[in-house]
Amino acid sequence: MKSLHIAATGMSAQQMRVDTIANNLANMSTTGYNARRADFADLHYQQFARAGAISAQDGTVLPTGVQLGLGVRPSSVSMQVEQGASGYTGGDLDLAIEGRGFLEVVLPDGQPAYTRDGALHRTGDGLIVNAEGFEVVPGITIPDDARALSINAEGEVYAYFAGQVEPQLLGQISLVGFSNEKGLEAMGSNLFLESAASGPPVVGAPGTDGLGTLRQGYLEESSVDAVREMTDLIKAQRGYELNSKIITAADQMLAATTQVR
């Protein structure tokens, strides 16, 4: 009875879909989070009767043959690259990226990582870091005596000092684009790593080369759509139940087989 195994692949696929939805809903208020989606594809087919095989004594030929499928497999859980809503916070180091691109941070081991979470902070020395304390490229230090901070759409960071009319340019925050953002490897804490599938990072100033712009005082909210997740959850749960019904029916057929004497 292959039906048992086939229905089991269906159940584990729906289980995976529920897991993905659970993770999305858990990250409903995570800054810069992009919803994930589980995609599925069918498994291999068994050839039972080849098309063109002779099916009767008079030489009738089968027009299509029989191929029996063996179930379903997950093909990908991919990030849905979608712009989340920008929520106003008023913080002078809160940045929302409008459009494509990631902020680059430097991990403690010197490796670069990428994030869309623009809730930045400063260290005791004035260095701009992300929420985890990792330095944001290109490593801008805010002087102690700076009165106010202004970051424009192109990522240029200006500091205002007491007694000076003109602000002073401290540096420019760059953005990084990838040809395949879905191929980035998520490492948790809103951070991503470059992978073989993502393509090499392309660094550019915000607003150039198709990269997005920055908006100070805003944070990009999670792009999880609760309504879509709930409808998907219903579908996944019912799909799970349907597959379990198949298992019950296949089991009863097996029982009927053993009753033949």
Partner: protein
Amino acid sequence: MDNASYVTLTRMSGLNREMQVIAHNVANSGTSGFRREGLIFSEFVRGGEGHEPSISMALGNTRQTSDLQGALAQTGGAFDMAIEGEGYFQVETAAGPRLTRAGSFTPNEAGELVNMDGHRLLDAGGAAIFVPPDAGQIAMSRDGTLSSDGLPFAQVGLVRPADPVTLSRAAGTLFEVEGDIEPVEAPVILQGFLEESNVNPVMELARMIEVQRAYEQGQRLLDREDERIKNVIQTLGR
């Protein structure tokens, strides 16, 4: 055993096969671009020799792929495409070009559009589609023309087999065509949508109950036949 049991046996093994098809359909009720598979039973007749009557056995030897349009689910993804009406996307695999209705694509590391298994999507001319790395918003018109900032750069091709019978299935929601393929004249592709599996759960469940009951009926018939033969042996052997 005599012929009655053998005829019942062909029916039961056919039903077993059909149960597998139903299980496969239900397992793929959440697979986007999946097309429902059906099994068609036919009569296999062995002509009677001399005065013997002919016997007909039931054989599930042909299949049918449902062409019904699946529901379109909105995803909002720039490279999620759903075909409305007839046609298939053409993707390039190591074993040659394949057709698919699953329209979830993404640019790969080189900027070419690929599906979730990494197979390249082909345009109307049969070449891979390259998405410029500096492209901003990607828009697609209903005929599959992809454009960035108002400049068209590629057109997604839709094809169909010249003879639908030559279509056979391959893993990964792909279809293989043994004959010729031709372009679809008026393709309609929607951006930001995915075509859901066209499996109808109600129909599958109803068919499943039917199959299960028919199988049990076959089992009872075998039982009766066994009893009948036993009676014959007892009566004649007395």
